[in-house]
Symmetry: C2
Subunit: 217 residues, 2 copies
DNA sequence: TGGATAAAATACAATAATGTTTGTTTTAAT
DNA sequence: ATTAAAACAAACATTATTGTATTTTATCCA
């Protein structure tokens, strides 16, 4: 029988330290990378003793696995904040300006601290079954909620969902690629050119698809 | 005074073991990831004693740093093989088929063993100064040679270099993004749709740019 | 052929990382 | 107020990892 969880001093304290640990782990991924992250470093970063930390998490794996969920949630928040803001400034229309704002928001998202931290875990998941096991469903949930967000915030694309999805994928993949490549080079690529092309492509696809619909009526 | 290097039994032996070590390191990055790679594991993979290994490399850093150059070279070879083959089959024209072949070749490249291994180092370089230090110039060299390759193998784009470069970047970023995202999901994204869009975009840009040139004459 | 050098293996020492155990302080509950 | 339990800290034991030193084996060259 699971005990009813009450809002008590201890449960609150426990929650805050749990979050402090996950935030410390995040900071470690960002500052020293997943490869160099150890329980000792995380504990130091969290300003906590290792013993205390291991009271809340059974072992290292538990911390890492928990941080997958934590970072997924944080990334969703970040995504929401950035894109809602861009959307508010852009209005509901599909224009060059609104698409540029969307791309810039996505760019910020892919360079945000939580996403950078998450990238470390994505790479780690490839060779760590226990991470992959929780990351795959987490990513599915992430995709689902992003899709919902787009559906409700980009009503202009209603009726052309297929094209919307393809453009969304293109944008996500391209920007993820840019963000990733920037790790191996110090020279800034000519982002502006690329962004213009992405805008142009979306406008073309949108025009084509909506024209098809009008034609069909 | 540097001694003239002669082709002797020992020098050959030394070269082959050096390569064996770098190949073993590569295999470790692929199989267990950079984060879990240790000198012991590399030595095991190379079927060599740690002592013997450390005779050829001063320390772990030396192995990792050397593998940046090794993998850059291997990736260039891989790229050449895949794209020359695609190009041979496609002929020199800018058509839907030839672009599809190029994309498929790029897709293979971004999923090849050497590139997967290199990805691990890209991520490691973000938080490891000694790797970044050699990776940045290596990446520059890589970019330069890829650019040369494209220039000589895609003569149809002569005169529209600006567009060619932008499309190239789009293709590289998008496919790197696809390859990277595939690490966090097991479900295969609808690649076909995306590839069609990439082909379409290139054809549009090519048509626009060449039309501009004809118009100018 | 024999001393010198290169390549490789083995053995050793020092450190770092993990997990566990034990102890201490603080809150909860009767 | 006293016992129980939660949150945290400190100390301990074990293993993993690295780097070095020593030893062995094979090749080079005078």
């Amino acid at each position: 029988m699971k005990q009813e969880k009450r809002e008590t001093w201890q449960s609150r304290k426990s929650d805050t330290t749990r979050i402090a640990v996950l935030e410390a782990a995040t900071q470690c991924y960002i500052k020293i990378g997943y490869a160099n992250t150890t329980v000792t470093k995380i504990a130091e970063e969290a300003q906590l003793s290792r013993g205390a930390m291991m009271y809340h998490f059974d072992d290292v794996q538990a911390i890492i696995v928990a941080s997958v969920g934590y970072l997924t949630e944080k990334r969703l928040q970040e995504y929401g904040t950035l894109l809602v803001k861009a959307e508010r400034e852009a209005g509901g229309r599909v224009t060059e300006e609104s698409l540029e704002m969307t791309i810039n928001a996505l760019w910020k998202f892919f360079h945000s601290r939580y996403h950078i931290a998450y990238q470390e875990l994505i790479v780690a998941a490839r060779t760590d079954e226990s991470i992959a096991k929780v990351m795959h469903p987490a990513q599915q949930e992430f995709d689902k909620r992003i899709a919902e967000h787009i559906r409700s915030h980009f009503p202009a694309w209603q009726g052309v969902e297929e094209v919307r999805e393809t453009i969304t994928e293109l944008y996500f993949y391209a920007l993820q690629g840019v963000s990733f490549f920037s790790l191996s080079t110090n020279k800034q690529p000519k982002i502006k050119r690329l962004f213009s092309l992405l805008v142009k492509t979306a406008l073309n696809e949108y025009a084509d698809a909506t024209a098809d619909i009008k034609e069909a009526n």
